[in-house]
Symmetry: C2
Subunit: 231 residues, 2 copies
Amino acid sequence: MENLPAHFDSVFTVDCIIFGFDEGELKILLIERNEEPFKGWFALPGYFVEKTEAIESAAQRILYESTGLRGIYMEQFYTFGALGRHPQGRVITVAYYAMIRLTGQKDVKPVTDFAKQAVWVNVKDIPELAFDHSRIFRKGFEKIRNKISYQPIAFELLPEKFTLTQLQSLYEVILNKKLDKRNFRKKMLSYDILKELDEKQKGVSYRAAKLYKFDKRKFAKNFQKELSFSK
Amino acid sequence: MENLPAHFDSVFTVDCIIFGFDEGELKILLIERNEEPFKGWFALPGYFVEKTEAIESAAQRILYESTGLRGIYMEQFYTFGALGRHPQGRVITVAYYAMIRLTGQKDVKPVTDFAKQAVWVNVKDIPELAFDHSRIFRKGFEKIRNKISYQPIAFELLPEKFTLTQLQSLYEVILNKKLDKRNFRKKMLSYDILKELDEKQKGVSYRAAKLYKFDKRKFAKNFQKELSFSK
DNA sequence: AATATAAGGTGTATTTTTTACACTAAGCAA
DNA sequence: TTGCTTAGTGTAAAAAATACACCTTATATT
């Protein structure tokens, strides 16, 4: 613990797991580190929290600096504070996740030096990450897998207008299992939180599907009962 | 942020919600603060984390110092880091809860100066607490209320041997609603995680009930399916 | 124009789970 | 012996979850 960099006074950091859904694949954002330790490794977007910052704002700032993304609601899921997490001493890390919509601008780019680049990586292809970030990722992924079963968080990953098949395949990727089409639709529609639009999918070379939107109004009204997708 | 006490270097703390079940009442441990700010107020047991401590060990140490309790497994549930939580500056607090068995030695006593006394208080009678501890308590209580519906955490609050009626009334206190006796028993027994003992309750002035134990072995085997007590 | 292709969209029967509900049995005390 | 208090038990009805297959529609190809 001798000779630490200046920010080691604060000794705590925020790391973010940013989920995106693109072409049927669930991805997260990783940065390539441009600083020792673990220079050149991939890591979750994250950095040191300033001494007088609220954690939430730190999370926003740090996500912006490492990826260029702004104004994204993140949910805190765990705080990691074991000894030996960081080679230079005890570092406490508050971890957040967010699910975002990748429509159009899915190009991400760090705006500071500590990250060399930011990239979207399929959750099935995550390499070994810096520090204990692999563990943090697993814990966060487990969290959303669990949460999606009883809370409508999947919509945040989809474009505003989506088909039921897209919604189902997102559930399938997150839960990592096949769902029955008829049962999925029956159940999803029974929650009465979707709005059926008069529009159809465009640009597909087969029968176009109806488009739906998540309906916040209906959700607030009808969502006493919880979602459940066990099978 | 001028003139802060020495430990303000570290600016983070651990707070604990310790649940106990006693004579049909769900209680938590509070301490009376013996330090400014909020001297004389009740607060959750908690204190500053040292610079080179792991959070988990800090939580153990702090719980011991404020209440005399040792070796209690605590589960982290949220980290609070808004500005303005602490009148002297930004303080980040990692919050834990634990559920403990109050058999015999339920007397608690601080072993340092920052707490004047430690007391068990019924969750229905919690006064306004120091800092944002009322909020932390509500969040932790919500967490266990939620968790008890799908994980067998209630047993940790009961004596090793308990009756089904005791178990049910614990569920009722935590969930804050009446449950049907027959349905409760049917469902609880269907999980096959209890061991029926050859013993009966003693010292009651009415028909004595059978005693049961939580059976970790069976639990590990049979607990793919989750508990659920919605009604 | 006809055909092939690929996904969209739909219903029913069966099983499982949840719920509602009330009386007898046992033990102790007076 | 009687009264009091809690223990302990079963069934029918409703609701939810599951398993399962075919026709429809839009486009692309010949």
